[in-house]
């Protein structure tokens, strides 16, 4: 088991890629701290994954709510668990051509995709500092690496995640905390299923491997980055897109 005795915090854990990561990590022996806004889904996921061998706890929290995150991390600190892994998966996507972009849209996307991710990284890395080791995996997107029409705000928020990942990896490398990013392409999740059908068809046609990615495809790469298999890898952005061309 690749994550035996490791403890991972996963945001956006209740569905899609986050749920797939939680499931795979549990199979690999990790203790899990699951965070999502959806308490009922977290409760259900905990029941699903609980095999009596790993510790699984969850917190209903919006990562844009700093006061709530403070409570969550105070609680985590008191468990005295060593935090080894943070998967910054929570994210929101909303499309708009630039002339229709409102300050509220920018705020909504950046609060979660950028500011919440930074806050989570700050709090979790503080716990990792104690043991001089850890792995942070940030979810960016092929839109952040390549861009897409109608997605200047979402795309730029995901580009910010890449810049943050690269700089933080340099800051924390000396204390053996690795920071990497994963850039999924077109993955079969509720978020992509809510897309405009016109874009959905176009995206499908642009995937070299001819199929949508599954959340498990992304989770496996995140597992690699979380585990010691990638012990000498930091500051990298790994695409998981089946050869998608944008």
């Amino acid at each position: 088991m690749l994550l035996k005795d490791k403890t991972a915090i996963i945001t956006g854990a209740s569905k899609g890629i986050g749920k797939a990561v939680a499931t795979l990590f549990a199979q690999q022996g990790a203790n899990l701290i699951l965070i999502s806004r959806d308490e009922a889904a977290l409760h259900s996921l905990k029941s699903e994954l609980d095999n009596g061998k790993n510790l699984i706890s969850y917190y209903a929290a919006d990562i844009t709510d700093q006061d709530r995150l403070k409570e969550v991390f105070t609680d985590i600190r008191q468990t005295k668990l060593t935090i080894d892994i943070l998967v910054n998966n929570a994210g929101v996507m909303e499309d708009a051509v630039l002339q229709m972009v409102t300050p509220a849209l920018i705020d909504k996307i950046y609060q979660t995709n950028v500011f919440g991710l930074i806050d989570m990284s700050k709090r979790a890395s503080k716990l990792m500092l104690r043991n001089r080791q850890g792995s942070i995996i940030n979810l960016t997107s092929i839109i952040g690496t390549h861009g897409n029409l109608g997605q200047s705000i979402y795309g730029s928020s995901k580009s910010a995640v890449i810049g943050f990942t690269k700089s933080l990896s340099k800051e924390l490398a000396g204390i053996n905390i690795r920071v990497n990013a994963v850039a999924p392409g077109f993955i079969d999740t509720a978020m992509t299923r809510s897309m405009d059908p016109k874009f959905y068809d176009k995206n499908m046609a642009s995937i070299g491997m001819g199929r949508m990615g599954q959340p498990e495809d992304v989770a496996k790469v995140i597992l690699f980055l979380a585990s010691d298999l990638s012990a000498y890898v930091t500051g990298q952005v790994i695409g998981v897109d089946g050869g998608m061309i944008i």
């Binding site: 403070k70 991390f73 105070t74 600190r77 008191q78 700050k122 503080k126 716990l127 500092l129 104690r130 000396g174 204390i175």
Partner: protein, 81 residues
Amino acid sequence: MSKDNSEKLVRAFSTALEIDATTVKDDLKYQSIPEWDSMSHMFLISEIEEAFDVEIDTDDVIDLSSVAKAKEILGKYDISF
């Protein structure tokens, strides 16, 4: 209690900055010695949080510029010296 806390604080500084405990005096200031740089400051915060079971706010992390200041800041978290 106050003496215990003083000893805990000295130990936190000594461990985090990897300096001799005798060097940890009230007037020891951030960046006044090579061992207390921005990175070791993060270790220091982590050690202090662990020692006193508190979570130090970012404003206080920035403000914690000397041993004396550390005592003053910890007062806000109901730790007395």
